[in-house]
Subunit: 190 residues, 2 copies
Amino acid sequence: MSQALARLPGLGPRSARRAVLYLMKKRENALRPLLSALQTVAEKLSTCSICGNVDTSDPCSICTDPRRDEKSLCVVEEVSDLWALDRSRLFPGRYHVLGGRLSALDGVRPEDLTIDQLVRRVSAGGIDEVVLAMNATLEGQTTAHYVAERLEGFPIRLSQLAHGLPVGGELDYLDEGTLAQALRARRPIA
Amino acid sequence: MSQALARLPGLGPRSARRAVLYLMKKRENALRPLLSALQTVAEKLSTCSICGNVDTSDPCSICTDPRRDEKSLCVVEEVSDLWALDRSRLFPGRYHVLGGRLSALDGVRPEDLTIDQLVRRVSAGGIDEVVLAMNATLEGQTTAHYVAERLEGFPIRLSQLAHGLPVGGELDYLDEGTLAQALRARRPIA
């Protein structure tokens, strides 16, 4: 069990052994609830066949929510990004999870991601806005660029998350790349 | 001396005492060079009477550099922000240092900053672009808002640094405020 736990991100072999001892000691209060939670996950969670979200139903609760704008699509790399954006209901539309990012280093090619599915969703019609919400990393931006090219020619508004100073960001502590982007993309004040 | 050192930002009383002992031990190799460096600073450094930069000459080397675009002005809170922006020659124009930010909490009012001087510089003519480069903090943005109001009506292009994802920023690790701004200010892709 300790080896299985050590495979979790953020847990090393040592913390995994400590976790095992803790779970053994608190068999009733910790081990059993964890076990049943994991069983629920194993049985009930599935990947949404429309957007790639992970939820207890397929299609997921976002794809089936009638209050959400079905004409707007936000494209993210991973399910964790979808959750990050959705935590505060920032985006009123629906999502598309690519399942990763293009990476020559890791050998991730376009066909390893759900880009074809995205193009099919858009070409099926009914979508008039696509927001690319890839991470501001090199690989994220490469992916955004590629996806933008694939979506060229469709009658949609295509946009990308703004890059610049993060909230609370102080110039003296920010890297030059961020300052350069913030300056380059400066917004006119009415 | 230890008390004088402890007043420096980032040095507590204990590190100050250790620094004193170190300087006493290395009298020739550390104390004397530090002393002469501080003397140079005390004698030669001054505040630029045009922009508020700190330099060995007044007007400073930026204000007198003929290769810099004298029609473009970048407004920053502190000299450290000017240096941060200028480190990589991001901005081809000149600067204006406000000397702080408006703050009800700290009792900083518009007349405590060099806002009047800025308005005078702009109304004197010859400037056709002003970039507000305040920090993305509450007080920085309040200051930017106020400065923008004071510069209303002048025939200049007024803009503000872009806000959004910092370089390398991953959605899952960013705060909701930054995600909200990045989404709100999303850029259309041609």
